[in-house]
């Protein structure tokens, strides 16, 4: 009994510590502008495309880095830059990954980076609307996407913020001719789903 009473505060302390380190789940619109670095360990860059006109297929990129500036009071001052390592594509099959890295699709050796750099950010209700240059397969084109501010807060003493954006691109627009020359195999549209947890610098 004495031991039980001694140990009783432990779960309470653990619970307190967890709640203290967990960020709030609502956007903090009163927060000041902050510069963040993407925490790749807690972020995901996924893609979704149609396979053979039958099903949606999902894959991911495991290597990426970047910076985000978020100013809740003046969204126009916000910015994002993300650099994805094209050769880090992962679709749960080494043989297929090799094909996707080849010059049929990503040409990952020739164009090792997929880069998005924002040019304009606007508030759109609770969300943000970002416009910028996407460089993919060596071709740079302007794209735009809605961005959800998933949450902001403090975690282990550092300011953190979460964002999720979805870009839809046509592979043919970026010079991936294999898809256009072999209609019905993949895509041609690809949705890039970028879910980022960012930590203040």
């Amino acid at each position: 009994m004495k031991l039980l009473l001694t140990l009783l505060p432990v779960p309470a302390l653990v619970g307190f510590a967890v709640s203290f380190s967990a960020p709030s789940d609502r956007p903090d619109t009163t927060a000041e502008a902050a510069g963040y670095t993407i925490d790749a360990t807690h972020s995901s860059v996924l893609f979704k495309t149609n396979h053979g006109g039958v099903a949606n297929f999902y894959g991911r990129f495991n290597g990426f880095q970047g910076e985000v500036t978020h100013d809740p009071a003046a969204p126009g001052k916000s910015s994002i830059r993300i650099v994805i390592d094209a050769s880090s594509i992962d679709t749960n099959s080494r043989d297929r990954d090799r094909h996707l890295r080849s010059n049929d699709f990503l040409s990952a050796q020739e164009f090792p980076e997929i880069v998005f750099e924002s040019k304009k950010v606007e508030a759109e209700g609770d969300r943000l609307h970002v416009q910028g240059d996407l460089t993919f397969h060596g071709v740079t084109k302007e794209v735009s996407a809605g961005v959800e501010v998933v949450g902001t807060g403090t975690m282990r003493g550092a300011k953190v913020a979460g964002f999720e954006a979805r870009f839809t691109i046509d592979m043919g627009d970026f010079g991936v001719s294999y898809v256009a020359q072999n209609p019905g195999t993949l895509g041609p549209e690809v949705e890039l789903i970028v879910s980022l947890e960012c930590r203040a610098e």
Partner: protein
Amino acid sequence: MDPLTQALKGILPPLALAVPILAAAWRPFGRRPIEDSAVTRGAAPAAIGLGYLAGHVALTGWPPLAWDVELKHGLFYLCLLATLLGLLEARGARPARVGQLILSVLVPVYLLDFVRAHRWTTTESVLWSTGLALAILAGAASAEALARRREGVSIPLAWTVVGTGAATALHLSGSTSLGQLMGAWTSVLGACVVLAVLRPRFRLAPGALTILVLLAGGLLGGLFASELRPISAILLFLAVFGPWLGELPRLRDRSGPVGLLTRLLPVLLLSGAAVWIEVVSRPADPYADAR
């Protein structure tokens, strides 16, 4: 798109252009002997070059008109240049050595621009580019010499074997489009083999330079822009020199099946080994057991 349709797309357009050119110059079913002329000499480079260009457009679309194009589109422009040099040579302009030199330097410099930008230091760039240019120059000189020396089936057939090996190895290494592009020029060589059976005086020269440029470009693409094993690329390139076995003093006068076999055997062994290496080294699927 099913594999047969994909293959036909890379084979039919080159043949549609190449066969009429070869037939018009060499009249395969005619009875009179064909005399050596600029037309007969120009038929092979025109058929191979234009056939490949047609296949390239059918498979990948028109390449962008720019210097810094993707590697596979660079093959289009190099083929165009090699074809022009081959046609000039057929007209008697004799730029063979100059053409070989220009293209040997251009192939690695033009196609591997991205490797210099992302991977190589300046020293590495100089060493790699020089080494590759020398290897391509040796290959081009050898290909031209063999094509001049030997008429008939053996040289077009040897090239068809190398092309088929390169197309298969590149496809197995993960690059379908480079494999298909190699298949495009190989299909024209298949037509050259048939022509050489009907017209035994047929010679590939001066079209050999175009083939060598396309093979070297495809192998460099597989090696640096895709995931072709270096040993496979080396074996396929060495296969280009294979027919010299049949030119050794004791073998060079052999004709018929024995002569053909001595020229083809090394090519078959080297190309076959490259394909075999690609087959056995395909990555194992780590999730296969989970399915």
